[in-house]
């Protein structure tokens, strides 16, 4: 992928990621999250992971975001009232996040393979759905079944949690 496209999508993702946590209005946060995830899906596709990129758009920009917006509308949340900001706690949180970024820069800087370009692929990977599916149903069959049970348990749990108490 050309560096121009990489930086475009990376900046799109990071800028809208910051918008998620800066916006006071939860609806604006949710919509910024959609744009951020679209940038992330483009980065996945730049890494030749087309299937992951597509389920990223389907699951996050589609299902999860509808869920977030639906809950925001259901609870009828207004923009957060301006409150006294605890400057000490905010400064501490930002300092810890910055320390994390600096550490990652340091670790990646000392990681020999990080400077090497990606090795070329033998052929285009537009058929990666088949490859992932074959692996999922052979090597990872048991984890796949367990994930199915997990999703079933989550569904039952959500229905139980959101049911009103019978009087």
């Amino acid at each position: 992928m050309s560096p121009v496209l990489f930086w475009t999508f990376a900046l799109l993702m990071l800028v809208f990621g910051v918008a998620v946590i800066v916006n006071r209005n939860p609806v604006a946060s949710a919509l910024s999250l959609v744009v951020s995830f679209l940038g992330l899906a483009a980065l996945f596709m730049s890494l030749d992971a087309y299937f992951i990129g597509i389920i990223q758009v389907l699951v996050y920009a589609g299902a999860v975001m509808v869920l977030f917006l639906f809950i925001i509308m259901l609870l009828d949340l207004r923009a957060e009232a301006r409150r006294q900001i605890n400057w000490l706690a905010s400064a501490g949180a930002i300092a810890v996040a910055l320390a994390l970024v600096l550490q990652i820069f340091y670790v990646v800087g000392h990681f020999k393979s990080a400077g090497r370009p990606f090795p070329p692929l033998a052929r285009s990977t537009t058929d990666d759905v088949r490859n992932i599916g074959a692996l999922l149903f052979s090597n990872y069959n048991l984890p796949f079944q367990i994930i199915g049970v997990l999703v079933l348990v989550a569904t039952i749990g959500v229905v139980l949690l959101s049911r009103r108490e019978p009087r």
Binding site: L14, V59, L74, A97, S113, G115, P120, V151
Partner: protein, 106 residues
Amino acid sequence: MVTLGHYLIVSGMLFAIGFAGVMLRRNLIVILMSLELMLNAANLSLVAFSRFRVQPTGLPDYNVQVFVFFIITVAAAEVAVGLAILVALFRARQTIDVKDISSLKF
């Protein structure tokens, strides 16, 4: 030229943004969104490593992409359960501000 290091640093920055969101914000919905950002930052670095570890067949390491698939599934289930808990909490307390939910504190 874009290398593995660029992807790792971008992923680390996305994780830091999500982390700052969890620490700074008091709105539970925004905290859940920041958790999603952190999970996706991990996915980005996993996919970058998958593309970097080209197998002898000349294809990316698909084991990693299966792992990313599992992470996305678990994250979706987590959001559904988290939002259901949030709705139950809102019905009981009429607030989703973490500052107002401090009953366990002395």
